[in-house]
């Protein structure tokens, strides 16, 4: 076997032919099917794949924490040369936390809320190491110090809810490393965190494991995190590893057709082609995995052999690839076209900024009253508390353009979206649509005509479709609401046409939402949005719940529809690469304030606001140039008590006294509008 599977020194972890099965009423489902890999001491192995690929189950199987009825049905697992999958349960328990540790996705639910973090760390230490309570406590303090918890000795007696999300994930890492394990399995350790916090947590995990020589299996769907962190990467598809090799080679010259498609589907920060590469279809469900190569129905190169016979991992270069076409040389390694740093596609939008804007948001402010019950306040001498979710936001969107709002949690981007479509009433400010104020009280009465012209696409395609309505009825709902005099046949025709618009077939209309995949559901949601023939669509994180290959399909669809129908988009997203791919102009929100508005290329090539720069630096990049550790500090403050002056000043490297006192106004700087006193000092 090649270097990709075997590692030079004796492996820390050796996995051979691992199978995980789930007996269900629909038969035996094989969720992990013949997975083999090695992990060297101190090595970081990335395990990447889209949802349903079996990557998390592989991790759970290694530490024997599969949820019943899931079970390991075959294969061998060796840790440090010792077979561990055959160990009796009680012996295996001592391995857990001792030699194999685990970090889960959601730091908010990983810690027991009723025990102090000190209790939990000391408990773990004393299970695995023979230490007195005092010494265990000392060790716990040292661990917290190492993961970067300030004042660790005092914080030891705090409860989990007293920590922020990023700090809790640091505590979880401290817990995982409490007994110096040989290997840590990190299952999407940063997915629940904001970008700027994610970078810090990844840095901590990486540093500590390197210092201790701990191996890591990093399970994630985020290729960027893998590119920045892993030494080698295994790409999983439908329960199998399709390609495993050194991370640089897999990313820069992917070999397996699936890996190639995946890499092409990821939008990048550096600018990209007009359309993303897209793989047709979706990952098969476990009860219908195709025979032969599981990828063959979606593969452009598939031959008859691929349908008939299942490819074993075969060496190719430094990698192992499960593909006949790669093995027999039909497919050569596919060097990814280097991003042309020329003009970005979205920059040449239709008739840029010629006419009056279609949508203009003027000084929009939304304040929520989040006070506790009056009695509480009276007794505790508390004042009423207000959360300023949106604070004086202004921007304009020309017809046919895509304007994007980016920001982390608490930035108010979703509130802006909801205010525009009328789900939330603004506290102050105006929203002008084609010259009409649609936020005022007078607009309320006569707004059916205007309402029809603007609509919204939501984030979660699993929650945005009523599970009890069939697709056709969902799509027809706006038609019936706005054109009640349509006949039944007319509605049916219109629905069929709309489904066609989003590349679904009319016979999908009689299916219920649960019969569709996530991407198909989002298409139905888009069809519903198009039903009222809108001119303007607010897209609230339209792809953040989808896998990358499906995301590419949806983004391409949105672009096509914009061209076909001349739509104007407001795109809300936390994903900078998606924004880069889609938007003409971008506004950056921080704690409810717009800190920078700039044309897309301008924002990415010359970010002016220190926060924008920090955000860009924090995004894990597939471009493998080794950057210095990003200078990201701190976490987003509680929006109920925002810092004075410029709300970013506590995290800003340039902040001075004036920034603490005064709120910087937005001012024009080149093509950008920046709300920062120091923007000139920051040389990009």
């Amino acid at each position: 076997m090649s270097a990709a599977l075997k590692v030079p020194s004796a492996p820390q972890l050796r996995v051979r032919d691992l199978r995980v099965e789930f007996p269900t009423r629909r038969g035996l489902l094989t969720a992990v099917d013949g997975v083999s890999f090695d992990v060297a001491p101190g090595e970081v192995l990335g395990l990447v794949g889209e949802s349903g690929a079996g990557k998390s189950l592989t991790g759970a199987a290694l530490i024997r924490l599969l949820e019943p009825p899931g079970r390991i049905a075959g294969g061998e697992i060796e840790l440090g040369g010792q077979r561990i999958d055959t160990l009796p349960a009680e012996e295996f328990r001592h391995l857990r936390g001792g030699r194999i540790a685990m970090v889960f996705q959601d730091p908010l639910t990983s810690l027991n809320p009723l025990f102090t973090i000190g209790d939990q760390i000391v408990e773990t230490i004393r299970i695995h190491l023979d230490l007195s309570p005092e010494n265990a406590r000392k060790r716990a303090v040292a661990l917290l110090e190492e993961v970067g918890i300030p004042a660790p000795a005092e914080r030891l007696d705090a409860y989990p809810h007293e920590f922020s999300g990023g700090m809790r994930q640091r505590v979880v890492i401290a817990l995982a490393l409490a007994a110096d394990p040989a290997i840590v399995i990190a299952d999407e350790p940063t997915t629940a965190l904001d970008v700027s916090v994610q970078a810090q947590v990844i840095a901590v995990l990486k540093r500590l494991c390197r210092e201790r020589g701990t191996s890591v299996i990093l399970i994630t769907h985020d290729m960027g995190v893998i590119a920045e962190t892993a030494d080698r990467v295994a790409v999983m598809y439908a329960g199998r590893i399709v390609e495993i090799g050194p991370v640089r080679e897999v990313i820069e010259a992917p070999q397996h057709p699936y890996t190639r498609g995946l890499m092409g589907a990821i939008p990048s920060l550096e600018g990209s082609a007009t359309r993303l590469e897209q793989i047709p279809g979706a990952m098969p469900r476990l009860d219908s995995i195709p025979a032969g190569c599981a990828f063959n129905p979606r593969c452009a190169f598939a031959t008859e052999r691929c349908v008939r016979e299942r490819p074993a991992p075969m060496p190719s270069g430094n990698a192992l690839v499960s593909c006949f076409l790669v093995a027999d040389g039909t497919l050569k390694p596919h060097a990814k076209a280097k991003a042309d740093s020329g003009v970005h596609a979205a920059d040449v939008g239709p008739a840029a900024g010629a006419s009056a804007p279609l949508v203009a948001v003027e000084n929009l402010t939304k304040v929520f009253n989040v006070s506790r019950p009056w009695l509480y306040r009276v007794l505790q001498g508390e004042k009423q508390r207000f959360l300023t979710a949106v604070d004086g936001v202004s921007f304009a969107i020309p017809r046919g353009h895509t304007f994007a709002l980016v920001g982390e949690s608490g930035s108010g981007k979703s509130t802006v979206a909801k205010t525009i479509v009328g789900l939330v009433r603004p506290t102050a400010g105006r929203i002008m649509f084609d010259g009409t104020d649609i936020s005022s009280d007078e607009a309320k009465g006569a707004d059916a005509a205007i309402r029809q012209r603007l609509t919204m696409i939501f984030q979660d395609p699993y929650a945005s479709l009523n599970p009890r309505m069939m697709a056709a009825a969902i799509v027809a709902e706006p038609l019936r609401a706005f054109q009640p005099d349509l006949s039944r046949a007319e509605v049916d025709d219109a629905v069929a046409e709309l489904l066609g618009h989003v590349r679904l077939s009319p016979k999908d209309g009689v299916k219920f939402p649960h019969e569709f995949s996530g991407g198909q559901r989002q298409r139905i949601a888009i069809a519903r949005a198009l039903a009222s023939k809108p001119e303007f669509i607010v897209c609230d994180e339209p792809t953040s719940a989808l896998d990358v290959s499906v995301q590419a399909q949806i983004l391409n669809l949105m672009r096509d529809l914009q061209d076909e129908l001349g739509l104007t988009y407001l795109l809300i997203s936390h994903n900078l690469a998606v924004v880069r791919h889609m938007a003409n102009e971008i506004g950056v929100l921080y704690l409810g304030r717009l800190v920078e508005v700039a044309p897309a290329h301008e924002l990415f090539s010359a970010p002016r606001h220190p926060y924008t720069r920090m955000l860009l630096a924090a995004v894990p990049s597939m471009d493998m140039t080794d950057r210095a550790a990003p200078a990201v500090q701190g976490e987003i403050p509680n929006p109920i008590n925002p810092p004075s002056g410029c709300t970013f000043h506590p995290r800003c490297p340039l902040a001075d006294d004036r920034c603490k006192r005064e709120r910087p106004p937005a001012r024009q700087l080149g093509a950008s509008q920046v709300a920062c006193f120091k923007a000139e000092d920051a040389v990009p």
Binding site: R25, K418, L423, A463, S464
Partner: protein, 317 residues
């Protein structure tokens, strides 16, 4: 979703049927022998009660068909005076126990279904309003529900029973007994529904598909009936089933306590009350068979309710 990709589009009705036939609920029903048996038991009792005038050997409400000499005849043995034989024996007044059970089940089921209907309609309406509107209305409804939930339903029913009785002239008591019973039990159970419906409504109201409907500009009434109500029905069905068992037990308990239906109009509870007086003297059948029927009825309904709760709860699947 793979089986019919080639076939022609289905009609919406057939699509719904197909979705139901493939559902986990039906699957888990067929897979559970206990539930199938429960459903059968319930069906037998329901049929017996519905068809009581046709199938029962005697009309226990008709004094002319009764013979005091038949009193306390043991099951399946001829009476020592009249030589008549009764399958399940007779009570102290010579009423055939089987007939009384059949007619008594009618009353139990009538009270059960009617009071569940009353509390469900009331609870669902108030719960929907509280959950969708929020604010002061929500506060008021839920405070009242909380305070009422504090008191066991049997106590609330007794209180309402007593108060209504105080309002009615004494001669009306006999005729009003059944409606009063239904009203008392029904009114005592609405907070259960209201609380659950409110909870579900608040969750559904914030779901994106309801927001999508609001963006279209649909009126709250339409959103409630088209989008929220269907999602509320599952949990309501569960509470209603478990509530049916509870209502049947409540009726039996009230009748047993002597405040339910009058003794001339026997329900299962009344029969058990009569039977209790005779357990020490050996006439066990007067108590035993009605008690068994009551248990079979409430147990099968409870089993079905319990199973429904698990089958409809996606978290447990």
């Amino acid at each position: 979703m793979t089986d019919d990709t080639a076939s022609a589009p289905l009609s919406p009705l057939r699509a719904r049927l197909r979705s139901w036939a493939h559902s986990d609920v039906l699957y888990s029903f067929r897979r559970s022998p206990t539930i199938v048996v429960s459903a059968l038991v319930l069906a037998v009792i329901l049929m017996g009660a519905l068809l009581a005038p046709l199938v029962s050997p005697q009309n226990p409400f008709d004094p002319a068909s009764l013979n005091l000499m038949d009193g306390k005849t043991p099951p399946m043995t001829p009476n020592q005076f009249t030589g008549e034989s009764f399958l399940l024996g007779t009570d102290d007044q010579g009423r055939d126990v089987l007939s009384v059970i059949l007619y008594g089940s009618r009353i139990s089921l009538l009270v059960g279904f009617a009071s569940v209907l009353l509390s469900a309609v009331m609870g669902v309406l108030l719960g929907l309003i509280a959950g969708y509107r929020g604010g002061q209305i929500d506060n008021l409804i839920m405070r009242v529900a909380d305070v009422q939930l504090t008191f066991p339903s049997i106590l609330v029913a007794l209180m309402i029973f007593g108060v209504v009785k105080g309002f009615l002239p004494p001669q009306a008591h006999e005729n009003a007994a059944l409606p009063v019973l239904i009203f008392s039990i029904g009114l005592s159970a609405w907070p259960q529904y209201a609380r659950t419906v409110r909870g579900v409504t608040m969750v559904e109201r914030n779901k994106e598909y309801v927001q999508a409907a609001r963006v279209i500009g649909l009126r709250p009434m339409i959103i409630m009936t088209r989008h929220v109500l269907p999602n509320v029905l599952g949990p309501v069905l569960v509470i209603a089933t478990l509530g049916l068992a509870l209502a049947i037990i409540s009726e039996a308990t009230l009748s047993f306590l002597g405040v339910g239906v009058p003794p001339t109009n026997p329900s299962l509870g009344t029969l058990i009350r009569i039977g209790q007086e005779y357990i020490a003297s050996g006439e066990w059948w007067i108590l035993f068979f009605p008690a068994l029927t009551l248990l079979a009825l409430s147990l099968s309904v409870n089993l079905i309710g319990d199973w429904l709760r698990d089958a409809l709860n996606p978290k447990l699947r």
